[in-house]
Amino acid sequence: MVAWTDAERNAITSVFAKLNPDVVGPNALARCLIVYPWTQRYFSKFGNLYSAETILGNPMVAAHGKVVFGGLEMAVKNLDDIKKTFAPLSELHSEKLHVDPDNFRLLADCITIVVASQLGSAFTAEVQAAWQKFMAVVVSGLCRQYH
């Protein structure tokens, strides 16, 4: 089980409270598809992903970004048991979606960067450390059921 200090819990929950679900999820996913274009391989059904502009304007990307954000929300609400909470999602990504787990790290980095741009100076080094620890636990939870 992951040990969270009080400072880390506070940092994670207070960052999350500041995030706009309509902005962060969609922007992070779009950014991932633009910055790491090979991740587009999982979204062939999303239609037009030909350029940064079309990706940013693609409603399916935006909708899926919100789904991803919902997953993060679930993790924040279950900080002490992310592993168990994410077991079904992990199985889904492994068995059904066949996503290379390295991609979770790429998306996590994009989420961190979007969060940083939203929070500005409030995203201090300590807050970043707590947030990245949280993202690492989320990624680990998603990787767990792979075999």
Binding site: R31, A52, L56, G120
Partner: protein, 144 residues
Amino acid sequence: KMSLSAKEKTLVKTFFSKVSGRVDDIGNEALSRMLTVYPQTKTYFAHWQDLSPGSASVRKHGKTVMGGVMEAVEKIDNLCEGLRNLSDLHAFVLRVDPSNFKILCHCLLVVLAMTSPEDFSPETHVAIDKFLASVSLALSEKYR
């Protein structure tokens, strides 16, 4: 090896010329963050008195690092040749494990996103990410 398109080089040059007045602060922020978020990186600076964020040593070194980054921007058309001295330094003297280049690059991207949210668009992000990866590659050229 990922090469930068002409458009990407322009994006990199434009972005860095916009922030050129703030590079010292950017360097300090990125380095301070790296030492805090990735404590294993402190092992390279055991000779410093004070490793705390914003300390004199950290500020000074942040400035040095950004000096290197800005030099790389100027020599963007030929990084391996242009950064030859820095490459020798990292390979034979400093011997920084190349995995740490990725770490510092990530911290730099976070700081750029924080301090220039309007300018750090996804297209600029990918151009700078590629640029920093190329710089890292140039720096580890002579490792073996």
